[in-house]
Amino acid sequence: DGMDSVRAFYEKTQAVRANFHQVVTDKQGRKVQEVQGTMQLKRPNKFRWDYNKPYEQQIISDGKQVWLYDTELAQVTVRDIGKALGSSPAALLAGGKAIEETFTLANASNRDGLNWVSAQPKDKESGFEKILLGFKDNQIQEMALLDSFGHNTKIVFSKVEVNPALDEKSFLFKPPKGVDVVGE
């Protein structure tokens, strides 16, 4: 069931690479954002989400700090991983074993052929009411998040590679020349 999958996911899967397609809809179901890209993660807390379409953006965590680079805005925002991003979806997926310290996990109903787990952020400041993780053969396939304004973010993963050899450098961020770096 969901709980077995999520435990296996955190224990056996030390690294993941996949494509993602993220759609955010508001309370009335209107599409607010749709982005696609690739993601990588390496436990604990290292992750990299490269948004390719419709705009370019990189969210990179070296395990201590999270760098957020919006190419067209030519701006990098850097935050400690402990801050709000600490309980964000990207950090949730890349979390170390002590995942149940930051989230309360529970089985959720199965649908679309996946077994689901709900992850309730313990940190009230996370801004997310509810996070659902959908697994197939203990591999992450989908995520659904409800934020406190009632918006639904749905992330579907494809081409999921389990424990691929990842280049450590992809979790390091070097601000490009001429780009402003600001703290949160």
């Binding site: 954002q33 991003l85 990207a90 400041e125 304004f149 973010t153 600001v182």
Partner: protein, 185 residues
Amino acid sequence: CATTAHQVTMSADSLARNQTHLERNATIQQFSLQGRIGVQTNSKGFSGGLQWQHSATNDNIALYSPLGGQVAQITKSSNQITLTDANGKQISAANAETLTYNALGWSLPLTGLSDWSLGRPSSSPVLASTWDEQGLLTTLNQDGWKIEFSNYTEQNGLWLPGKISLKSDQVNLKLLVESWNNITN
């Protein structure tokens, strides 16, 4: 219209085109836009998604974190403006500048932006402005802000900027417009 500001030769007929363009854009009363906003104020900053519905009497702005979740909602009616953050906490103030400064640490010049994002000056005095051959504003100096406009696109007969960069002595703001909709005059 890729000329940079200082090379602009503001010929007489581009002045005429500028005036017609501004007269046409001045008729816009309502708009909604979706895009991204980058803010920098003495080494602190924010960047994320933005959705804004504007009418003569009220404004509704949603700010999103890059990971998709909404971080703040700003609603402005004729006499009050309120910000609700991701934890449901509400703060109100008389104007957007004080409200966003208290809540987010940087001041959003909302009134001015409702004109500047349309590529037109606000009602206060214009210190300086330049435009390109087509008459589209490229720079504007007003209300203590130095503003640059670029990436204009045509939206049912009106030319609107796709990128607006604003600099005051405390804040650096960049607004990228991904889509305009229901522009009414």
